[in-house]
């Protein structure tokens, strides 16, 4: 089963999120992540959905989404021609011995320490998923207390707009 990133432009109506998520659950489509926010036009929102499925399933997902009245446009964002980003906040255990090492890794990843407490630091990092996952792997030995990810958000590269 392949992963696909689809970008869905929707009317910013109340209920649109449940319409979309309800469609995925009742038709048994697998969602890895879903992120949503307003676009440059406050009447429209963009959802970036990471789904799993073969090409046939992807085709069905796109067509079924397009049947929702609030959905304006659905496109697949293929890796070669898109930028994917995700934001993660992670709270890692620290003490005097480990703080410097963690800080070094944070620098290498161009992440940011946004909160320091006696026994932990909170780090903000953005990047594509492989970068985020690599960072998580490096933090794990220190002890991850809490972690939250926004899910992928994405745009097409270059001058072209997604929106027709």
């Amino acid at each position: 089963m392949n992963r696909h990133v689809i970008s869905v432009l929707v009317d910013n109506e109340s209920g649109v999120l449940s319409r979309v998520s309800g469609l995925f659950s009742r038709r048994g489509y697998n969602i890895d992540s879903l992120s949503v926010g307003e676009t440059q036009d406050s009447k429209l929102s963009r959802m970036t959905i990471v789904v799993r499925g073969d090409d046939k399933t992807l085709e069905q997902i796109k067509k079924q989404l397009l049947k929702l009245v609030d959905v304006r446009e659905v496109i697949t964002l293929i890796p070669e021609s898109s930028v994917y980003r995700e934001l993660m906040l992670v709270k890692v255990k620290t003490d005097a011995d480990t703080r410097a090492a963690i800080s070094g890794i944070v620098d290498i990843f161009r992440a940011k320490i946004i909160d320091v407490a006696p026994l932990s630091v909170t780090i903000e990092i953005t990047g594509d998923e492989s970068k985020i996952e690599a960072f998580v792997d490096l933090m794990r030995p220190y002890g991850i207390k809490e972690l939250v990810r926004t899910g992928l958000t994405a745009l097409k590269r270059g001058d072209s707009k997604i929106q027709a």
Binding site: G15, S18, K56, Q60, K63, K67
Partner: protein, 558 residues
Amino acid sequence: MQLTGAEILLECLKEQDVDTIFGYPGGAVLNIYDALARYPNNIRHYLTSHEQGAAHAADGYARVTGKVGVCMATSGPGATNLVTGIATAYMDSVPVVAITGNVALPLLGKDSFQEVDISGITMPITKHNFIVKDIDNLSTIIRRAFHIAQDGRCGPVLIDIPKDITAATTEYEPRQPLPLNCHTESITDEAIDKAVQIIKSSKRPLIYAGGGVVQSNAASELIEFAEKINAPVTTSLMGLGGFSGTHKLFCGLVGMHGTKTSNLAATKCDVLIALGARFSDRVVSNVEKFAPKAKIIHIDIDPAEINKNVDTYHHIIGDVKAVLQKLNGFIEKRINNTEEWTEQINHWKAAYPLNYKNDGKLRPQYIMERIYALTDGEAIISTEVGQNQIWAAQFYRYTQPRSFISSGGLGTMGYGLGAAIGAQIGQPQKRVFNIAGDGSFRMNCNELATAVEYNLPIIVVVFNNRALGMVRQWQDLFYDSRFSQTTIDRATDFVKLAEAYGALGLNLSRNEDVDQVLETALKSNRTVVIDCEIDQDDKVFPIVPPGAAIDQLITEEV
């Protein structure tokens, strides 16, 4: 002009040419019902016994007229009682607008008395739904709802209107209904040409027609097409009437209760042309073994149907009528050589006709044949669900579209009487029969009160086998005859029940009385219930066992 929300609702219904609605009042729709009584309008409101009946009536009305059916209910239980009817319309793509009241805006979300999130509940069973939160959006929402219900693939739309919105006032200006898009842009010359080439090279073509043919009023185009390419025609349950049941190219139903001819034809054909049909599991059964030799050409208005259930070789997206018109323009008569195939089909038809035991006992199949004969095939037949539904589909020949009204997709027992009420109101000059099983009839027979109240001469034919026959049949065939909870030998006297409702009750127990009882019912011009005492073990044949290929059917031993 300044109008209240309730008055705007009535004005907007007028814009859409709505003159008939089915509903049931309650607290949250008091303002609307008050407007109905005092504000000038041409709307005839039919009060049913139950909101489910109103929803089915709106659906039946829509199916026989082709117009949008409208039903209305109060908040909470009124709204939830519509749900089965909305789901039924959704599965069969019927244009219905359901209007529900809700508690006033400040009370929404507070578990107020009779508050229910009907928009949330009906999300998966409507094309779309709305909650009106601002009176200034009310007219736009109603106009959009009617548009959505009819545009492209039809379906139900629900509008939830909080009570304070119906009382508030705002400026109203009449508008023309939004124009419907005919969806012809995707019917390209290339797509048509490719279809023609495939058909040209076929030796064994088969047309599989579904409800889309009826919906798009494409019956005459289909006849022209079938005759031009000389292809036999089979239909889904929803497609009945889309192609005349008396036409020499007609092969009967396909699928689980298909004729042997249709099912063999689907298995052997080299090109299968699906028209406004969706390859439901009731048709396809075992996907791997369905039409294994065929290039499938799928013509449908809904792009999501293409390659959903079966893989297709070619498709054209568009209104079936428009596609057929274009195809017919491209095709000269007899472009393909199908003589051998025609012979084969005719041989199967002669060898494997639909039949039933003719041993002098009262048989439902015979009753259907007599209804056909005595009405010259001009009646509208609504059905319940179960054996009654399939017998009604098999043994009455539907020569006109919109004459067979049945819950195909959802299989809703209790659908038929409400639907018959809507059908009779939509087509007052037609004779309307509701073919029922005793189980289904008992579910919603309360609507007899409605039929009697409005003097609707509907004839309810109850095939009373004192069983949930279709389930019993499955238990008999596939569960070692363990009849678990399917015997309903209740003490109910349907004749007396009919009389209690003010309808005419008739009993039919002997084969030789069929004509006389039907004549009495027809002549009475009243709501009639005929209690037909049939055998408990009469079965529907053919039947394809679950999971089997459709040519592996069990047929009746006569």
